[in-house]
């Protein structure tokens, strides 16, 4: 290779990388951050839900619900930060299960989850999203079918009528955008906040 060609290109290569690192790497995200913080501060800062000055979660990030008094979200495959053990809905270490369709562990786990859920609502087939783990491990939503499935338990635990809970689920269901796009879903955090409000 002719060295003079290399020399001729080396200065532009170094300078272009430096200059564009500044333009693209610093100025561009700086502009986007500044504008976002002014016009969309709620979204830019994580769509956080605050009660009495304390953050109780993000509307967009799923949480782990274990109390039978609350609607539960989907199984989550996230691990503790060091990867040593399961820690569902760890929002600083998002992950999927990556279990293949013919993996025995998948089949066994789904079977266990299904049997567990069938106890609270015998005779009803369990909606698939309640027994499979989400892609992000942070899915904030369940399907309307999964919410309806949990109504007997919630009504029983809270001393409400199934119809009251059913109406609550219907009110908190987001349908498809323009009736066509995406899928109907229920945000578990907002549903549970509405559930707590109903009690009073």
């Amino acid at each position: 290779m002719n060295m003079s060609i290399v020399n001729k290109s080396l200065r532009p290569a170094i300078m272009m990388v430096i200059l564009f690192s500044i333009i693209i790497g610093l100025i561009y995200p700086g502009i986007v951050t500044a504008i976002s913080q002014v016009i969309f501060p709620y979204q830019a800062n994580g769509s956080l839900h605050t009660v009495n000055g304390q953050v109780i979660g993000s509307d967009l990030i799923g949480q782990e619900w274990t109390s039978p008094r609350y609607f539960h979200g989907r199984p989550s495959a996230t691990l503790a930060n060091d990867g040593s053990k399961s820690q569902p809905y760890n929002a600083q270490n998002s992950a999927a299960s990556n279990l293949g369709p013919t993996n025995k562990t998948l089949i066994k786990t789904v079977k266990q989850r299904t049997e567990e859920l069938q106890k609270e609502n015998p005779g009803v087939a369990v909606p698939v999203d309640l027994v499979t783990s989400s892609g992000s491990g942070l899915d904030p939503d369940i399907t309307p079918a999964a919410a309806y499935f949990q109504i007997p338990r919630i009504a029983n635990e809270r001393g409400l009528t199934p119809d009251q809970v059913k109406k609550l689920v219907a009110d908190n269901t987001t349908g498809r955008f323009l009736w066509i796009f995406g899928e109907a879903h229920v945000n578990v955090l907002n549903l549970n906040i509405a559930l707590d409000a109903l009690k009073k």
């Binding site: 532009p12 967009l60 782990e64 600083q92 999927a96 299904t114 892609g135 992000s136 939503d141 066509i180």
Partner: protein
């Protein structure tokens, strides 16, 4: 497929059709050096950049110089990224509020190769490994730079086809700079802000602690996500800010961001097809490539969607409900998000692997064998179904040249493409480009299955394990970056081999392509006559699709038969591993 699925997919095709022509016209204005409405602002910026860098913007260069400029730009960018990752511990509390340490050497090499080559394969979890400075100046910079590089190369090849009896292909620095300033940067600013309005985050906060109603604490990762998210898709890069990429609700919170994502992945590649037609003087030449692409894309969508909507037969008798109904999407929901369901997950997966994007909104390792085979085939075909930014156009043009050559052989006359005679040198370069990828994919895969360092990373036993390895090297060589993510990639063995595969896949493909451009640009144009094979009609569409599928099938069928195909057969007979 349900009626609703058809409607959601058709809406995507229509949106893509709408953006193609305006994008193509704008691209051709920018690369012809014409004035645009941004010129008053950016012409002075351009001048300053050229002056500081010592670039003579009026000087054009031969293909060799173009390649050398491109290689040096990539190499310097690589070094800078490596240094940034290795010095994270000193980046300070503003850029590194979580106090992250330096990235380990081999992982840093792999990531450097990955982002420089527009692959964006990720052997790390972003929110656990990378500081905000690394994400912005290190990774997002390469999202722009590798995209601009790819587009510049495609423009150079188009000049090779459109110029007559010439020597020069353009000036790499000018093409790259104009691409950055006039196309990628302004559209990304607008795009990023729209994403923020929908819930994609953009801040420099430390991670937030929430106290949940259920009585637990949850720490939620933060960062300047939107500015990186838009270009991740628009530049067909695909490297997520977070580990789970576009499945993460902070990257892709709802159906609006979902459509923005998939349309922006195809926007530049589709626009480049139009630009190509415009530059060679007949836009039908570009629309032909568009039609070939949309046909191949829709075949993939139909197959994947049907497979995923059918659910997992292994779970069929466990007492759960996988049926599509008014209240649930049903199907194979492992690794998928409720807000996207089966339709948007399948559509996203096909789009991201048709292009060289590799962002994912659902996890391919958990797809049904046939649902997972489609993305593998898409990448194996060379990502020419719209394809990556730039790489899609130069990839499909290689196949177009091969197609006219084969057609020429059938009737026994010298083939021409766009009036340029296709001769020995062009076919040699096209063949080299087409053969290097499968050779690298299959050799690396075979090696990894034989060596314990390779096979010990497999997460799912049985034929699925073979698919994991095959997918990893297909994705790395194809510069896609999506994964069957169960495979543990962050090992010394995979950090080195996948890193090498990415470099081979990028540069060993585009150097012969540019050599071909350098040879084509010198040729004069022969006027079309009765014996010329027309490259704008249905016959050419059929031939091109045939050549693409036959080359792909002949190359990979044996490997696919042992992986996803045998897994599918075993799955329907009820065999688990």
């Amino acid at each position: 497929m349900t009626l609703n699925s058809v409607a959601q997919v058709l809406a995507f095709v229509i949106l893509l059709l709408v953006v193609t022509k305006p994008m193509g016209l704008y691209l051709s204005r920018v690369f012809n050096g014409e004035r645009t409405w941004l010129s008053p602002f950016f012409v002075p910026v351009e001048r300053v950049l050229y002056r500081i860098s010592g670039v003579n913007h009026e000087e054009e260069s031969s293909w060799k110089r173009y390649v050398i400029d491109m290689l040096l730009f990539s190499l310097v960018g690589m070094l800078l990224l490596y240094i940034i990752m290795r010095t994270q511990q000193w980046q300070g509390a503003f850029f590194n509020p979580q106090g992250m340490g330096a990235v380990e050497q081999r992982l840093a090499f792999n990531t450097t190769a990955s982002f420089t080559t527009n692959t964006n394969w990720q052997n790390y979890a972003g929110e656990q490994t990378m500081t905000y400075l690394t994400q912005m100046v290190g990774l997002a910079f390469h999202n722009f730079a590798s995209a601009a590089t790819g587009i510049a190369l495609a423009v150079a090849l188009v000049r090779g086809l459109s110029r007559r009896s010439a020597q020069h292909l353009g000036n790499f620095w000018v093409d790259m700079t104009r691409c950055m300033l006039y196309i990628l940067l302004p559209i990304s600013i607008v795009g990023a802000l729209v994403l923020v309005s929908q819930g994609v985050i953009q801040n420099f906060s430390p991670y937030i602690t929430a106290h949940t109603l259920n009585g637990a604490t949850q720490i939620i990762a933060q960062g300047p996500v939107a500015s990186q998210e838009f270009i991740k898709n628009f530049g067909t890069n695909g490297g997520g800010f977070f580990n789970v990429n576009s499945a993460h609700p902070y990257e892709n919170p709802n159906i609006i961001t979902e459509y923005i994502t998939i349309v922006s992945i195809f926007a530049i590649p589709a626009g480049l097809f139009y630009m190509f037609g415009k530059m060679v003087g007949n836009t039908r030449q570009g629309w032909v490539l568009w039609i070939v692409s949309i046909i191949l894309c829709l075949i993939g969508v139909v197959v994947t969607l049907t497979a995923e909507q059918g659910g997992n037969p292994m779970l069929a008798n466990l007492g759960l409900n996988q049926q599509v109904s008014a209240t649930q999407a049903g199907g194979n929901m492992e690794g998928k998000e409720v807000r996207f369901g089966i339709t948007q997950s399948s559509l996203f997966t096909v789009v991201t692997t048709d292009a060289s994007c590799g962002a994912v909104n659902s996890f391919l390792d958990s797809y049904t064998p046939i649902g997972g085979l489609v993305p593998l085939i898409n990448i194996g075909l060379g990502e020419i179904v719209f394809g990556g930014v730039g790489s899609g156009l130069y990839g499909i043009l290689v196949f177009a040249i091969l197609s006219v050559f084969i057609a020429g052989l059938m009737v026994g006359r010298t083939p021409e493409y766009l009036g340029k005679k296709i001769e020995r040198k062009e076919i040699m370069m096209a063949a080299v480009a087409i053969l290097i990828l499968p050779a690298s994919i299959l050799l690396f895969s075979a090696l990894s299955i034989v060596l314990p360092q390779g096979s010990s990373s497999i997460a799912n036993a049985g034929p699925h394990g073979l698919t994991e390895i095959l997918y990893a090297f297909t994705s790395a060589n194809g510069n896609n970056g999506s994964a069957f993510a169960g495979l543990s990639g962050n090992t010394p063995y995979y950090n080195w081999t996948l890193g090498l595969a990415m470099i081979i896949g990028r540069f060993a493909f585009l150097i012969p392509v540019l050599a071909m451009a350098g040879s084509l640009v010198k040729k004069k144009v022969v006027p079309a006559n009765l014996g010329t094979f027309p490259t704008t009609g249905p016959l050419f569409v059929t031939l091109l699709i045939g050549v693409i599928l036959i080359v792909g099938a002949l190359t990979y069928f044996p490997a696919y038969a042992l992986g996803p195909i045998v897994e599918h057969l075993l799955m329907i007979s009820g065999k688990a591993f």
